[in-house]
Amino acid sequence: MTFEQVKEILTARCGLPSGPVTPDAPLASAGVDSMALVVLSLHLEDRFGVDISEDDLAAARTVDDLAALIGRHAECRG
């Protein structure tokens, strides 16, 4: 999954303002809180069939890392 795809979900689905969501931003700085992680986890499961818990998502350091993490989970599923 690309950074742009993750940013789209974080802003459109998780309700985060787009400005702080940059590739290098640590999750907290990007506004990714516990609610955003739950919404992201549910959306990934519903929309892409990717089962990844909010705890696993929280392990990512930056938004770019988050995209890479989701990408790895999606590949495993495929």
Binding site: G15, P17, G19, T22, S29, G31, M35, V38, V39, L42
Partner: protein, 320 residues
């Protein structure tokens, strides 16, 4: 090329003591605090945010992020919550209001806006009733005179459940309190309108988040939860006498079952000139379900702007 991220809100942490109890607060602001932040011009007074029973001063990241660019936000861990010392069980909302007033004194703030949400509402109400000259605007989110019916039964049972359990020998109070599954499920049904989940935005995510947080409750937190539940059960949440002379907004989600729209309206009736607003597609957890709209409503009220033309809320009412 991706533009640089805008500056993050800054925060100042304060540790205070009152009547032998340690407590604290965060002041969240965008950029340096202005020189005159303690005596700002009307409409830009800081916002004191008093949150719910199971929340601490870090529980409102979404609201603080949206409000801080406009005015500093003060989030408190009053005694009995978060990093603060325990509040003796026999102490109630009068004590918590006195502690909040001590906080304002300690920070040198003569006048603030006050938002009390859920468990924070009885505290905010008392501050405005006792010291109307110190409250520029009062906002109450999800409030009631008294917890009734099945909600009352749930809280009684939750207290019994928590008090019937105890950590084993050598087990830390900061360890996870096991066998919380039933409690977590019931807590979610107490705070979220699960019957109307399809009409409430982000309901599935809010339920999952609350359940997860409840499952991670430590022994120490569980005991505090029980104390909070008892406080809500035993006392008159809203004191007699009403409030005059303070502009007030009472609001909640249209599907709130924890503190129903009618119960919110009854509280609004006791505040002269108050306004009642019901948010669409939200319940008691509106700050999570509709965080952008929640913040927009708060800012509108803080700026004395009309509340009649909000597409995410029903027309404002004047219950008093």
């Amino acid at each position: 090329m991706t533009p640089p991220a805008p500056p993050q809100p800054a925060e100042d942490l304060h540790r205070l003591r009152w009547h032998g109890m340690g407590y604290g607060c965060r002041i969240v602001h965008a950029g340096p605090l202005p020189q005159d932040w303690r005596n700002p011009r009307p409409g830009t007074e800081p916002l004191l945010l008093l949150g719910g029973a199971l929340q601490d001063m870090y529980a409102w990241p979404r609201l603080e992020r949206r409000i801080a660019p406009h005015t500093p936000v003060i989030l408190a861990d009053l005694p009995g919550t978060g990093t603060a010392d325990d509040l003796p069980e026999e102490e109630g909302f009068d004590t918590l209001a006195a502690a909040a007033l001590h906080l304002l004194d300690a920070l040198g703030l003569p006048r603030v806006n006050v938002l009390g949400a859920s468990y924070g509402a009885p505290i905010a109400y008392r501050i405005a009733q006792r010291c109307p000259h110190r409250v520029s605007r009062l906002l109450l989110a999800g409030t009631t005179h008294r917890v009734t019916g099945t909600m009352r039964d749930f809280l009684r049972e939750a207290v019994r459940h928590i008090e019937a359990t105890a950590p084993g020998p050598g087990e830390s109070l900061d360890g996870a309190c096991p066998a919380n599954g039933t409690y977590a499920d019931r807590l979610v049904r107490y705070l979220v309108n699960t019957d109307e989940h399809h009409r409430v935005q982000q309901s599935a995510a809010v339920q999952r988040l609350l359940r997860k947080q409840a499952l991670r409750t430590t022994w120490r937190q569980a005991r505090r939860h029980a104390a909070c539940h008892r406080r809500v059960l035993d006392r008159a949440l809203i004191p007699h006498g009403g409030i005059t002379g303070v502009p007030a907004l009472v609001f909640t989600g249209e599907h709130d079952i924890t503190t129903s729209p009618r119960q919110n309206r009854d509280v609004a009736r006791t505040i002269t000139g108050s306004t009642l607003v019901l948010l669409k597609e939200a319940d008691h957890m509106a700050h999570l379900e509709r965080d952008a709209e929640y913040a927009h409503l708060v800012l509108r009220f803080l700026h004395d702007e009309p509340l009649d033309d909000l597409d995410f809320a029903y027309p404002a009412q004047s219950p008093s």
